[in-house]
């Protein structure tokens, strides 16, 4: 049931048009951060206001929405945002990646490959990949405009000189279509290879920083690296303890204060689907049938 006191998907139509224009510009110039007049939303900045505005601008009454946080549908913030759209847009919601037409995510890309026609909306805290090298926005905009990305590689060089490898594990910077360097939002670098050549549309919304950027389908995305220190996606060196999957991204769960740990798929829908199909892991309960 949608709440009749608000327009469909909360935002007024003029605001949605403004956001759609920014999205279209972002799709036309992949990886370029389009400034937009972000609105105050009924959740705090940093909790997905950018993603929520992008989702609101994309939703139609026929859409089916999935919301995940850390890969899971049942995390508190995901539940909160899903409820928000159930209430203000009345759209159907799902936890199944394959069923969703719009997926809003924080920090993960679903394990199941996305398909054409789907939209993946990322929540972005800091859209500027150069921000931690240069705090001034006026300067970073100029660096993008002039393609001055040497400093980014200096950072990676320093990592290797100091630690022997590139010590960026999430929000790992990428170069889009050989032009803009882009922050893929704080997804683990494990997910970076899924950014490129993806059949779905990927939209990135940063509410507090008032930026939208986008990856159109099948776009070229390269994680920055050196020839002799190539980018390597990484994950915990375990199988999922519930579904046995050896290739999914895993959460580490502390089970006691004696150093006990278990590892489970961060993508809960993926894990459940596998378990329903009969896959089992190290800590799966014994079959009772």
């Amino acid at each position: 049931m949608s709440d009749q006191a608000y327009n469909f998907a909360y935002l007024d139509e003029a605001t949605k048009r403004m956001i759609r224009r920014a999205i279209l510009k972002g799709l036309a110039v992949p990886g370029y951060q389009v400034p937009f007049a972000s609105r105050e939303m009924p959740m705090p900045y940093g909790w997905g206001t950018g993603g929520v505005q992008v989702t609101a601008a994309c939703l139609t009454p026929e859409d089916t929405l999935k919301v995940i946080d850390q890969g899971a549908d049942d995390t508190t913030n995901a539940v909160s945002i899903r409820t928000f759209f159930e209430r203000t847009a009345g759209v159907a919601t799902t936890t199944q990646t394959a069923q969703a037409s719009v997926i809003q995510t924080r920090h993960r890309i679903p394990e199941e490959p996305l398909r054409a026609g789907q939209i993946l909306v990322y929540q972005v805290p800091i859209p500027e990949p150069l921000r931690f090298l240069e705090p001034r926005e006026s300067e970073t905009r100029k660096m993008h405009a002039l393609e001055e990305y040497g400093l980014m590689h200096v950072k990676l060089y320093e990592d290797i000189a100091r630690h022997g490898e590139i010590s960026t594990a999430y929000a790992y910077p990428v170069r889009v279509e050989g032009r803009y360097v882009m922050d893929p939002s704080p997804i683990p670098k494990f997910d970076n290879p899924k950014l490129g050549n993806c059949p779905a549309i990927q939209l990135f919304g940063a509410g507090r920083e008032q930026r939208i950027y986008a990856l159109p389908p099948y776009c070229d995305v390269v994680s920055l690296d050196f020839e002799d220190h190539p980018f390597t996606p990484s994950k915990a060196d375990h199988d999922c303890d519930l579904c046995g999957c050896a290739t999914s991204y895993l959460d580490e769960v502390i089970t006691d204060d004696q150093g006990g740990r278990m590892f489970v798929c961060s993508d809960t829908d993926f894990c459940e689907t596998r378990r329903d199909a009969g896959h089992r892991g190290r800590l799966s309960p014994e079959e009772t049938a």
Binding site: P44, Q70, T76, F132, H163, D251, I254
Partner: protein, 362 residues
């Protein structure tokens, strides 16, 4: 009228009488009781206790009432009262691992021994005005409750500590310096910095912390654990020869896990930031831990990037809102003696500057 020459005393008396009248507001509206403030404005009470450095919800409620809801003024009242209190001694260090927890979240692990407990939080509420609250006399809300978890809730950072993933804590039995008894002197050691931050202005500490997140002294912070609850306060009684519990305080504690240091030869370890504040006041506790971490750049061998949050003198000398508001507002006091001398000076300078022009014109 702003006239300080004559009749100043009468003016002050009249102003204070007027203030008292305004404080009460429309007499047709029932007067606020301290209990109402304490129970229904609890987060304001918490802030006043934290920045007033005195754990006493009733006195904080009184201060808020007296200050007409101006929290900095209320904090000022508490500080002024606190300073008059005799000091009998110091409590033993509080054991936050034994806290009776009402809220506990970790952003670094999905599940943790002892569990994630959301508790009474605004998180995940949609910020839509609830007009039902405008109507009085609604039934008293109740929340389903579960018996307290018997499982221990160890500090999450202690668990990372077991694996040597955290920088070691420095243990010391030295008596920490006391900011309320000794002047703040630079360079300030960490214990002193933390004291200044915990009573520092929430808005200031928040903005400093936020600036580190935006790149001005970035520290890559994760909330390893945020816990809120009540802790017993114990005190050694020399006459008895053992310690006794003298009361309980509500605390918010935040421990952050931050970017690591290390090199190819020295294995990297995460570093830490710490925040501890009276009452349920997690915005402040998290802010404090971020600023604490940013201020530690020197001991961790990081660079001075010139960020405000790395500058201990800047942060510590400007975080106290009682000092700040006093000095700021003092400029509305009469300054006419100084101003008179400036007037004379500027008139003379203008005259001197104009003289050659006039001569040239003739």
């Amino acid at each position: 009228m702003y006239v300080a020459t004559k009749g100043g005393e009468r003016a002050i008396e009249a102003a204070h009488a007027w203030l008292a009248e305004e404080r009460r507001g429309d007499p047709a509206v029932p007067e606020l009781s301290l209990a109402q403030i304490r129970e229904q404005m609890a987060l304001a009470v918490n802030r006043v206790m934290a920045e007033g450095s005195l754990f006493d919800p009733d006195l904080a409620a009184l201060a808020i009432k007296q200050a007409r809801g101006d929290l900095i003024e209320a904090i000022f009242l508490i500080r002024a009262y606190r300073t008059t209190l005799p000091r009998f001694g110091a409590s033993l260090p509080i054991a936050t691992e034994d806290m009776a927890i009402t809220r506990r979240v970790s952003a670094t692990f999905k599940d943790i021994p002892g569990g994630q407990i959301l508790g009474p939080t605004f998180d995940y509420t949609h910020r839509l005005l609830d007009f039902k609250l405008a109507a009085e006399g609604a039934p008293v809300p109740t929340a389903a409750c579960k018996p307290a978890d018997a499982n221990p809730a160890p500090h999450i950072l202690a668990l990372l500590d077991r694996d040597e993933l955290m920088e070691p804590l420095e243990h010391s039995d030295a008596t920490p310096p006391d900011l309320t008894r000794e002047p703040l002197e630079m360079p300030a050691e960490r214990a002193l910095r933390l004291q200044a931050l915990t009573r520092g202005d929430e808005g200031f500490v928040l903005s400093m912390a936020y600036s580190t997140q935006r790149g001005y002294g970035r520290t890559h912070a994760f909330v390893g654990e945020l816990r809120i609850g009540r802790c017993a306060v114990e005190m050694d009684i020399p006459e008895l020869g053992f310690s006794v519990e003298i009361g309980e305080v509500e605390l918010s504690e935040c421990e952050t896990v931050n970017q690591f240091t290390g090199s190819k030869t020295e294995p990297p370890q995460f570093t830490r930031g710490y925040g501890l504040v009276f009452g349920q006041n997690e915005r402040k506790a998290i802010s404090m831990s971020l600023v604490d971490r940013a201020l530690r750049w020197q001991e961790l061998g990081e660079d001075d990037t010139g960020a405000p949050a790395q500058d201990a003198e800047f942060v510590l000398y400007h975080c106290d809102n009682i000092q700040a508001t006093g000095f700021l507002e003092h400029i509305k006091l009469p300054h006419y003696v100084d101003f008179q001398s400036e007037l004379e000076l500027i008139r003379r300078l203008r005259r001197d500057a104009k003289a050659p022009q006039q001569e040239a014109a003739q």
